[in-house]
């Protein structure tokens, strides 16, 4: 009897472990930037290329950085959610227009509507690298102290907005 119990227990443990592993999403890589200072940038604005927006300008307020591009299909999917978030007027939603053609980006905003307080252009993707962007769209929540509080990878859905992003925002806004 005993000689069956041990292999059975080992087998059940293995199945449990592998079953748990199957449920994890390997695309979700925890960002090492959480609770770290937001990587500084100073970039030209999409609508007014002569003006720059820098992370220093945002210190003292809670804000959201949404990485988007006109070539990014999932960005269209999340566009209505980002718009809904911006319409609540809780925080500034800054767009990081990632490796895009400015003309195409402006057309995209005209076609779908512009939810962003302002969008800045990361033409060569260098700022994206500093922010650890690897799957557009990505959404960061940054606190008034300039620390990154939350990172969402992939399109934000209404569920993830309510369940993940809003609680972080509410806590930050007090």
């Amino acid at each position: 009897m005993n000689r069956f119990v041990v292999p059975l227990v080992v087998f059940v443990l293995m199945v449990g472990l592998l079953g748990y592993g199957l449920r994890l999403d390997p695309k979700l890589v925890p960002s090492p930037l959480i609770d770290k200072q937001a990587p500084p940038f100073s970039l030209a604005m999409l609508e007014q290329p002569a003006r720059q927006l820098s992370t220093a300008d945002m210190v003292g307020q809670v804000w959201i950085l949404n990485v988007w591009a006109s070539w990014c299909v999932s960005c269209r999917a999340e566009h209505k959610v980002i718009t809904a978030l911006a319409n609540r007027n809780l925080v500034s939603v800054v767009g990081l227009n990632y490796k895009d053609e400015p003309a195409a980006a402006e057309r995209w905003l005209q076609q779908f509507g512009n939810p962003y307080t302002t969008s800045v252009m990361d033409l060569d993707g260098r700022v994206g690298i500093d922010w650890g962007v690897y799957g557009v769209p990505e959404t960061f929540v940054i606190g008034a102290d300039g620390l990154i509080k939350y990172k969402h990878i992939g399109p934000v859905t209404h569920e993830s907005l309510e369940q993940k992003i809003m609680p972080v925002l509410k806590e930050l806004l007090g």
Partner: protein
């Protein structure tokens, strides 16, 4: 036969498309070796089972360029690795660093091996130990051997 031939043709046709296209000029063979080692050991996060060297993703190209630029500015390979880990986390490393959350990963196989060795040795030892034999039976056997025909 025909589908096989078609497949071969398609394969041959695709090979050059997969090759990375940028060419970099290196200041020294050492720098080239460092670069090749780094792009082979850093993971492309877009296509997660490929390294930077093997991936044609946009991000992989950017990160190869970043690696090249950092090396040509005289930064050490370790500085490049730290730069990547700072931004993308330990997951970018195909060769995880030896640190508190990877002790199990690095040492686990050796611990398992030791366990198996201990079990194996104990089994072998217990099998070898000779069964206790009655001295009377030995004496009897010896007598048989010496007399050759004990029962007659």
């Amino acid at each position: 036969m025909k589908p096989l031939l078609l497949m071969l043709v398609i394969c041959a046709w695709c090979a050059p498309l997969q090759a990375a296209i940028e060419t970099y000029e290196f200041d020294s063979p050492q720098m080239e070796a460092d670069y090749n080692k780094l792009v082979n050991e850093l993971r492309c996060l877009v296509c997660q089972n490929q390294n930077l060297a093997g991936s044609d993703a946009d991000l992989a190209q950017d990160l190869r360029r970043e690696t090249y630029q950092m090396l040509s500015q005289g930064q050490s390979p370790q500085q490049v690795v730290d730069f990547m880990v700072e931004r993308y986390g330990d997951f970018v490393l195909y060769r995880p660093q030896f640190q508190s959350n990877t002790y199990l990963l690095w040492l686990g196989p050796f611990v398992l091996l030791m366990c198996v060795l201990v079990i194996l040795v104990r089994r072998l030892v217990s099998r070898k130990s000779p069964a206790a034999v009655d001295p009377e039976a030995i004496a009897h056997a010896r007598q048989i051997l010496e007399n050759k025909e004990p029962n007659q």
